[in-house]
């Protein structure tokens, strides 16, 4: 019981500290803006640890963060192998293939107005559907190994990137296009020098949405069958063995991989679309 009270004290202390920082004079500096969410997160983790220990919650319901950290550190080689299987082989390869296919399709569709008008509503519609449902079919077609996960990811990332790229390629003004025409620019020159750069904010929007979808697709596809390896496989089997510390460790790994993936794409975006108003100043 002492620990639970201590957890509440910790919460109050964390909140008071954050309140002071957020309303204080230094609230707009970068370090405070990073410190406040960090303090909030650490307080939550501390409370989780104290409450789980204080109320003696069994580890098969909710393991304390220290047990999760121990599982993460202890099983690092297993988690790394799962990460390579699910993320590098499954998600990343599918992401690249899906993105390239979507670009190619978008550029073809962009050349033909009829195709664009037909494809855009269909693509928008498909992007909202529960495409994860194709996982059992694709696992049946491509086998249990990473090829099927890659295929699910291709289908999942294709439509968001396609729709965004087509919308982006249409985002030039008539004035700009006319200028290119007065320069005597060919279709390819207009595409490379004007329309693709102008489409980049849209394309990166699609790419960023798709990073999460890629990991979801790869993990869910493993629920339908996988080799004895992979994040989805480890999660579903560890849940069966009630080894919840391992499940949480895999979730932490998936969260780190997802955020890092998103972060890398966002970093590249910042470099490529440095001219865009949202990245200036």
């Amino acid at each position: 019981m002492m620990l639970v009270i201590f957890a509440l004290v910790l919460w109050a202390a964390g909140f008071a500290l954050n309140a002071r920082l957020a309303t204080g004079p230094a609230a707009d500096t970068r370090s405070v803006q990073l410190a406040v969410p960090a303090i909030f997160g650490l307080t939550l983790i501390g409370m989780w640890e104290l409450i789980v220990r204080g109320l003696e919650v069994p580890g098969v319901i909710l393991p304390p963060p220290s047990a999760v950290a121990a599982a993460f550190a202890g099983e690092l080689d297993v988690i790394w192998a799962d990460f390579v299987q699910t993320f590098v082989k499954g998600a990343l390869s599918g992401y690249v293939i899906g993105a390239l296919a979507a670009f190619a399709f978008a550029i073809v569709a962009d050349r033909h107005d009829f195709l664009k008008r037909g494809l855009l509503p269909v693509g928008n519609f498909m992007a909202a559907l529960p495409i994860v449902g194709t996982a059992p079919i694709l696992v049946m077609w491509f086998g249990f190994d990473w090829e099927s996960k890659s295929a699910v990811v291709v289908v999942m990332v294709f439509f968001p990137i396609l729709v965004n790229t087509v919308a982006g390629l249409a985002d030039t003004q008539a004035m700009q296009r006319d200028l290119m025409r007065t320069y005597g620019a060919s279709y390819v020159q207009t595409l490379l020098k004007l329309r693709l750069p102008a489409a980049m904010p849209f394309i990166f929007n699609g790419l960023k949405i798709s990073t999460t979808l890629a990991l979801i697709g790869a993990i869910v596809a493993e629920f339908f069958g996988s080799p004895t390896l992979g994040m989805g496989f480890r999660i579903s089997t560890s849940v069966g063995q009630l080894a919840l510390d391992m499940v949480w460790a895999e979730i932490v790994a998936a969260a780190l991989a997802g955020s890092a993936f998103y972060g890398i794409i966002a970093f590249i975006e910042k470099r490529v679309t440095f001219w865009h108003p949202s990245h200036r100043g």
Binding site: T23, A27, K116, A128, P130, V132, F224, V239, L242, G258
Partner: protein, 332 residues
């Protein structure tokens, strides 16, 4: 798009302007969309031939027809396209009517979809309406809870700087992580404390729809600009009045955009929530059972049922959005 004005020579002859506009818009949109859909269906039928070729040729051989190459082991190593080119007759005739095809033809899926919805009592265990309702009830329960909590948190974030600085970064980061990975754990943990059925799936649905609503709603509640806020201050409006009369109405377009994302995510959550425990009821369970027993037609029909459900849910929200925003004078 090449939009000629309605007043161009010969435009809208014999029709009222409104009808002509509608017809032009419909022709400009519906014809290309239908063409693309028709092309997809044709592509699907064509793909059936090589995909199902191995089985069609095997069936033809069993019924006594001549097939080239005669040895089954030789056929196994051939691609589907090569095999259908060598045996065009059997490959073509049997591709669209198999019991467990690798790729079922569109009409097979349509027939199965019709049989398992309209052809059965909705209470039957084989009816897709029954399974769809199981999934839909979890989706809607989770969506309602997730949306309500999301709006509450967004209101808190907008009004408290401390919450904004501590919670908002985490809400944004949480969009980049595959939250769905926790689905199996929620199911099993809740099961071990004696909760099962609708609730665990609803929890997952609520969790998935929660964050899009928070992020969208915060953006929406902040969308009134300084000029509008200053005007309300000159009127002497209280904080509550500013919220109800300016911030909340201004946030609705953002809210609806997030609701459309959230409801699709909720449905995915409910379906995925049915997978890891081997549930026997629901659309996810139909997908899983179909994949265990190789019932491809059943998988495809469950997939289409889920797609139709998602489309209907999004369409309902879009309809409410259109009516509401038009009555509020916000529609563009």
């Amino acid at each position: 798009m090449t939009d000629t004005p309605l007043s161009a020579p010969g435009a809208g002859v014999g029709r009222s302007g409104r009808v002509a506009l509608w017809l032009r818009g419909a022709g400009g949109r519906i014809v290309p969309v239908l063409t693309v859909i028709a092309a997809l269906i044709v592509l699907w039928y064509v793909a059936c031939i090589p995909m199902n070729a191995h089985q069609s040729v095997l069936l033809a051989e069993r019924s006594g027809a001549e097939v080239t190459p005669a040895a089954a082991s030789e056929r196994r190593n051939m691609g589907g396209i090569a095999l259908s080119l060598r045996n065009p007759g059997p490959a073509l005739s049997a591709a669209f009517a198999q019991d467990r095809p690798v790729l079922p033809a569109p009409h097979q899926v349509a027939v199965e979809l019709w049989d398992s919805t309209a052809g059965m009592r909705p209470t039957s265990k084989r009816s897709l309406i029954f399974h769809g309702w199981i999934t839909l009830s979890a989706t809607l329960a989770g969506f309602a809870v997730g949306t309500a909590l999301g709006i509450l948190l967004a209101v808190g974030i907008v009004h408290s700087r401390v919450m904004d600085m501590s919670v908002m970064p985490w809400a944004i980061v949480s969009q980049t992580i595959p939250i769905i990975a926790i689905a199996p754990m929620i199911i099993v943990v809740l099961y071990s404390v004696g909760v099962q059925g609708l609730l665990p799936k609803a929890v997952i649905s609520a969790y998935l729809s929660f964050f899009p609503v928070v992020v969208g709603m915060v953006k929406g509640l902040r969308s009134p600009d300084t000029m509008q806020l200053d005007l309300l201050r000159t009127y002497g409006a209280t904080g509550g009045q500013t919220f109800w009369k300016l911030r909340l109405p201004a946030s609705l377009p953002y809210l609806f955009a997030s609701l459309k994302i959230g409801v699709a995510a909720s449905l995915i959550g409910a379906i995925v929530g049915e997978l890891p425990t081997g549930a026997v009821r629901g659309l996810g369970a139909r997908l899983l059972a179909g994949s265990y027993y190789g019932q491809t037609v059943q998988i495809w029909s469950a997939l289409f049922a889920a797609a139709i459900l998602a489309a209907v849910l999004v369409a309902i929200i879009a309809g409410i959005e259109r009516v509401l925003l038009r009555r509020m004078g916000l529609a563009r």
